[in-house]
């Protein structure tokens, strides 16, 4: 079941969901809440990429994503002028807000794009929208401009929406420290 705005606010009040900073009233819709874009970006370092001469990524046990990311991307802190995402450009970004979905709350969520931006060609994730129960932190966004025009992205702009879903039960890890160590 998807939570409505009223339920989201009740869950926030009860700290079964935490969003920091707390979204303004205008950030809600009936069944979602918008999150905003953080200043931190990671953009591709084409000087490094050009040296690879066709290196093939081999995802698997030996692949170290953090090393890959650090080698081929560089940090960028956005000013108020923002970042112009050119057609076909792809960057890593984060939400300004942090999310906490405690396991015992029986809440998972999905991060999705906003139609106003989707119409321009902006995707905010690459097929991985699920925020599992127990997640805590900033949401990473995989921003890709599939459109024909460059899009200026500015810190603080509503960039994605979060849809909360109630799970049918409590995940096993949600019982850790409560029931898992109980002895018969």
């Amino acid at each position: 079941m998807i939570l409505t705005d009223r339920e989201i606010q009740v869950f926030l009040a009860n700290r079964q969901i935490t969003i920091k900073p707390t979204p303004d009233a205008v950030r809600y819709s009936s069944t979602s809440v918008d999150l905003t874009l953080a200043k931190q970006f990671r953009v591709w370092d084409f000087n490094q990429i050009d040296k690879t001469k066709g290196e093939v990524i081999e995802p698997g046990p030996k692949f170290k994503y953090a090393e890959f990311r650090d080698k081929y991307t560089k940090k960028k802190i956005l000013t108020n002028k923002g970042y112009v995402l050119a057609p076909n450009d792809f960057v890593l970004a984060w939400t300004h807000e942090t999310i906490d979905l405690p396991n015992h709350s029986r809440i998972a969520a999905r991060v999705e794009g906003k139609s106003s931006l989707s119409r321009l060609g902006l995707a905010v994730h690459v097929t991985a929208p699920t925020i599992h129960a127990g997640f805590e932190g900033h949401l990473q966004l995989e921003l890709c401009n599939h459109g024909l025009f460059s899009i200026r992205l500015t810190p603080g702009m509503p960039i994605c929406q979060l849809i909360f879903e109630m799970t049918l039960g409590t995940p096993a890890k949600g019982y850790s420290g409560i029931f898992l160590r109980q002895k018969k």
């Binding site: 705005d5 009233a25 205008v26 950030r27 809600y28 819709s29 009936s30 979602s32 918008d34 906003k114 139609s115 106003s116 931006l117 702009m157 509503p158």
Partner: protein, 80 residues
Amino acid sequence: MNRVKARIVRGPIKSERIAYITTAGGVCAEVLLSTTQTGSDHVLAVEVARDKNNVLIELPQETSSGDWRVWVNKNQILSE
């Protein structure tokens, strides 16, 4: 459901209209709606909160600037 004052123009297809709503902050919010969600001078929206002078409404669709909810002056509400 409230009728909220708006300027309505033709949309990209026959069944759609573009509505322009002046927000309490003076910004003109643009939203693409079905003809069933608009009249000649208004859009249908739901009140979700109210303060002394303004009403927070939820529109039937997201505005071009990404908002589902906007504050409008209560004078913009034509009927409740």
